[in-house]
């Protein structure tokens, strides 16, 4: 397998896996959390590169610490969680940049940690991403209805006698695993594009959770492949090309959903007056 075929395979595996986990992230409104996680893993990746160990391994260690912190933060008020995620985001990024400046002769270029280098991914990187995707699919097959219940109605979920923290921890864990396995392809800065954009695009055109879990990975894989092809055809960097392809899919979905909402094709929905719908 040549480097280009390998890059295409990596794009499909990483794109699909990130898209699938992204569906959970988007419906649970944890996108900003995931964004903080991507930047927070940056110092771990730099440290791993300096020590000569696997970059995903270093990022994973950093993310385990961050998941523990964020799982705690997520139980606090929503406002507090957002602020803390913002601090983790900028703090992590700054720590990574500082670390990179302090360590001379780093064997990995800063650019590849930040925006990825899918043309040089290893078999191990692909295997890791595939494993994460498979684990995510198994978890959702087993616990998907519970995840849906707790996301849709956290109070009702607890009132029914379920605990919320295992669901929160599971989704955060999958998110962190997905971020770490996406780093080789799209780096710390662009990883969020593969997680959020395909799911957000799918969310605009499908109406069921199950449909979302199918559509988001397909869009993610397509964005990955398109990005790699564009990278070769137009001689541009692959990571940004993949991120832009994912963004393009989002804009396309946005256009489709806007067209659908035109009066001619609007579905008849029994809307009562605003006063009826008001529940305070």
């Amino acid at each position: 397998m040549g480097y280009f075929e390998r890059a295409l395979l990596a794009a499909v595996v990483i794109g699909a896996g990130a898209g699938f986990v992204g569906a959970l992230v988007v419906v649970r409104r944890r996108t900003f959390f995931a964004q903080a996680l991507t930047h927070g893993t940056y110092p771990g990746a730099v440290a791993a590169a300096a020590l000569g160990v696997s970059v995903p391994a270093g990022a994973a260690v950093a993310s385990v610490a961050l998941v523990a912190v964020m799982a705690g933060i997520a139980r606090v008020r929503r406002q507090g969680a957002q602020v803390a995620a913002g601090i983790v985001l900028t703090g992590g990024f700054a720590a990574g940049a500082l670390l990179q400046a302090l360590i001379p002769g780093l064997p990995v270029r800063a650019e590849s940690l930040l925006v990825g280098s899918i043309l040089t991914v290893s078999d191990g990187d692909i295997l890791l991403a595939a494993s994460v995707a498979v684990v995510a699919v198994i978890c959702v097959a087993l616990f998907g209805t519970r995840i849906a219940f707790s996301t849709f109605d956290p109070h009702g979920f607890r009132a029914a006698g379920f605990r919320e923290w295992p669901v929160e921890l599971l989704v955060l864990g999958l998110t962190a695993a997905s971020v770490v396995s996406s780093l080789p392809a799209v780096g710390a800065i662009l990883a969020i594009a593969l997680i959020a954009a395909p799911a957000a695009a799918a969310r605009l055109v499908v109406t069921s959770f199950r449909g979302l879990l199918f559509a988001a990975p397909v869009i993610g894989a397509a964005a990955g492949v398109l990005g790699v092809l564009a990278s070769r055809g137009l001689a541009i960097a692959a990571g940004p090309a993949i991120a832009l392809a994912a963004t393009a899919f989002f804009l396309l979905s946005l256009g489709i959903s806007k067209l659908r909402a035109l009066p001619l094709k609007r579905v008849a929905i029994p809307v009562e007056t605003a006063e009826d719908a008001r529940i305070t």
Binding site: T151, P154, A160, G161, A277
Partner: protein
């Protein structure tokens, strides 16, 4: 009364870690009985309901659940009450507390009422599907089963959540301000449903501002405002003096058929 109560509170108090709460609760609810929980905003009505569910810590007194299925009431603890009560209590939250953008159909929402009875690795079976359909028919929404929940009107969402509560086949149903923002048609549908449940032997505890509604479907009224002020049969408790005391001097009108608390009927 020979039938043991489904719920019994004796001097119970439920308090949030921050200090807000409700205390002095004395309450028995029998199978087929409906109790109205009445008080102004911030009186602790939701706190009491969530306390029964084990979501707000009990800080005094006793709470006993049981009786409806032949078992004697059993005391339950602070931490484990939500689990001890599982399958027995259903809760209708205020619609404002859930995410209307989540992609889920009405029948999937109603099926959530069955999860507690399912093990972790068991999928819903035929009996669960039948219970969901039956619950949707009871609230009159069977034809909208596949409609995305977010596309339903406020009243339909409320009835859908009630169907979810019914699908769990509870002995005790807790309703938190179920009539807020409902139009007359949805209100009537909800009243009918509560009456149907009573005939099936379900005990109902409903928090509401709506004094007229308490008259319509409830046997007993409990007035609360931080602490329990009065309780008993509707006609004895819903007196001008009691209601005025409960609503702390807000102007209260009271006539033969309707009771209106200005400024509270549509908060």
């Amino acid at each position: 009364m020979t039938v043991p109560p489904v719920l019994r509170l004796r001097g119970a108090a439920f308090t949030y870690p921050g200090g807000a709460g409700v205390s002095g609760l004395q309450l028995d609810i029998s199978p087929g009985e409906a109790v109205a929980l009445i008080g102004p905003n911030g009186a602790g009505k939701s706190t009491l309901l969530k306390g029964i569910l084990g979501l707000v810590p009990k800080t005094a007194g006793t709470i006993e659940l049981g009786g409806a299925r032949g078992a004697a009431p059993a005391p339950i603890g602070r931490i484990g009450s939500a689990h001890a009560a599982s399958g027995m209590i259903a809760f209708l939250p205020q619609s404002a507390e859930l995410d209307p953008d989540f992609p889920i159909s009405l029948e999937q929402v109603v099926m959530q009422g069955r999860y507690r009875g399912l093990g972790l690795f068991r999928w819903p079976g035929r009996a669960d599907g039948a219970a969901v359909r039956h619950a949707l028919e009871t609230v009159g929404l069977a034809e909208l089963a596949r409609r995305p929940f977010g596309e339903l009107s406020g009243g339909q969402r409320q009835r859908g959540l009630l169907a979810r509560a019914l699908a769990s086949e509870p002995a005790l149903l807790l309703l938190d301000e179920p009539f807020n923002g409902l139009d007359q048609a949805n209100r009537d549908a909800l009243v009918d449903t509560i009456r149907t449940l009573k005939t099936r032997g379900v005990a109902v505890l409903v928090s509401t501002h709506d004094l007229e509604l308490a008259r319509l479907v409830c046997d007993t009224v409990v007035l609360v405002n931080g602490t329990q002020l009065a309780s008993g049969p509707v006609d004895e408790v819903l007196t001008l003096g009691n209601v005025q005391e409960c609503f702390e001097g807000l102007e209260v009108e009271l006539d033969e058929h309707t009771l209106v608390v200005p400024g509270h009927e549509g908060h």
